[in-house]
């Protein structure tokens, strides 16, 4: 890494006085996502569990993980909800656009679930176990919004 890059938490036009570190593992995930549309997890050397988002420590085994593995990009809906009530998004101070699909996605090859939007064009297809794939943003900045949402695939 040649230059220091900051992860930007966007709040529409407003700045927020927070500077969160995502760590080396988080940085690697976002770099691969931005540049190669690839998704990475880390694998526990003891129990073999694959964690997404990647992290340094397997909490159950309390050992350091060093092996990165590529997961997805396709997967299944592990669980989900469809948010219908209006609430203020503390990230923006504005009302979150509802309804939206809130998915917990199990990427192929991963053991934990990755949280993101699910497209709810056809609500009848939003079910646990349904196959999904990510819709990548054309202009990627190296954050979780580089995936726009997940959509159901037949």
């Amino acid at each position: 890494m040649t230059a220091k890059e900051n992860l930007v938490i966007e709040s529409k036009g407003s700045g927020q006085p927070f500077n969160y570190a995502v760590g080396m593992y988080g940085s690697k995930f976002f770099k691969e996502l931005r540049e190669n549309r690839k998704l990475l997890g880390t694998k526990c050397p003891k129990c073999g569990k694959v964690y997404v988002p990647p992290r340094r420590v397997c909490g159950e085994c309390f050992v350091e993980m060093t092996e990165f593995v590529e997961v997805g990009p396709k997967g299944i809906i592990g669980t989900f909800t469809i948010l219908r009530y209006a609430f203020i998004d503390p990230e923006t101070g504005e009302q979150k656009p509802v309804p939206y699909g809130y998915g917990f996605i199990r990427f192929d090859g991963a053991d934990t679930l990755f949280q993101h939007y699910i497209s709810i064009e056809d609500e009848s297809k939003i079910k646990i176990g349904a196959r999904v794939e990510p819709v990548f943003s054309e202009e990627r900045k190296g954050n979780v919004k580089d995936i726009l949402c997940f959509k159901i695939i037949e």
Partner: protein, 387 residues
Amino acid sequence: MPKKRVAIVGTGQTYHKSHRPDVNGQELINEAVKRALQDADLTIKDIDAVVIGNMDHFEGINYVDCWSVDGSGGIMKPVIKLTTGGTTGSTLAIGGYQLVASGFFEKVLIIGWEKNSESDTTGAITTAFDPVWDRLVFAGAISGLAAEAQAYMAKYGATEKDAARVSVRDRKHACNNPHAQLRREITIEDVLASPMLADPIHLLDVCPRTDGACAVIMANEDCAGKITAVPDWIWATANRHKYTYLGDVNWGELDSLAGASREIYAKAGIREPKKEIDVIELYQPYSFAGIIWIEDLGIAERGKGAEYIWSGATDMGGELPINPSGGVIACNPIGATGLIRCAEAALQVMGKAEARQVPDVNFAISTGFGGCMWSDMLLHGKRKPDF
């Protein structure tokens, strides 16, 4: 092992409402403290230390341990704050227990409170979750609970109607509790016809937002019996955490509650909780938890929670009444909620629960639940523990 055995000797609650503009935080706290002291027939001079807590980012006012001392009675006494999310109230109880059990303090005043009307609860809860990985889609407590309900329904075939039966039970029970916020009976049809907030959770499946405070006085075995004829002995406490991110959760089972309950049962020698426990005050923030979490407690077999609820066993007069107070669905001043479960369990053991009293309570359980699916638990008993 505890150095001293510990009992609850007095409790006090405010009259909880959705909005208490007549008092500020400190005055609300004082209401509960005065009632607890009165209940135990003690004065503030008798109190050796104060444990207090709420979700301070809910009101956007930090350090309640400092600014509340006029109302809490903490002036020139040791005061500590505990804040652990939804479990704040139950953690306060466990923390207070440990202070007395350690032998360092004889009588401790424990206070939980919240003025949810002064904040945006969903926004505040969201700030408790990871800004990078959780917050994009997370929408407060209801979104995570909805994910749990969906996973459980897909696995075991439970229905929205099954969950509605739990709301109907708790709202009926709440009519017996003068401290509950929502004291009107509802029907299964009312629940199913109420607005869908996050599939499959309807408005009447979830807890309200409440202003309220609760205070509990714990004393050690040297003085508990002198303060009150029937103390509520704390037999055991347990606390479990399991996850970092919401995507790590084993959705559909509450592993933390299962773990906490097994520790409690082992400590107290309880083999058949359904028969040996007489009443449960369950921190149950939504109806589906009333089905799922009794399985984690070992009260119903996996997938059989709904059947047990429909049998009426958890209603007043049933085999194992759950939430005689009306529970969290009828009243939820968040930082006080877990401590109210503890206080209500104590009232049951002490025989002071009035219209909501379950007869002949020897053992009661109170629980707390929070954030990334973690759990607290206390076992209350009429008899002094053997250990």
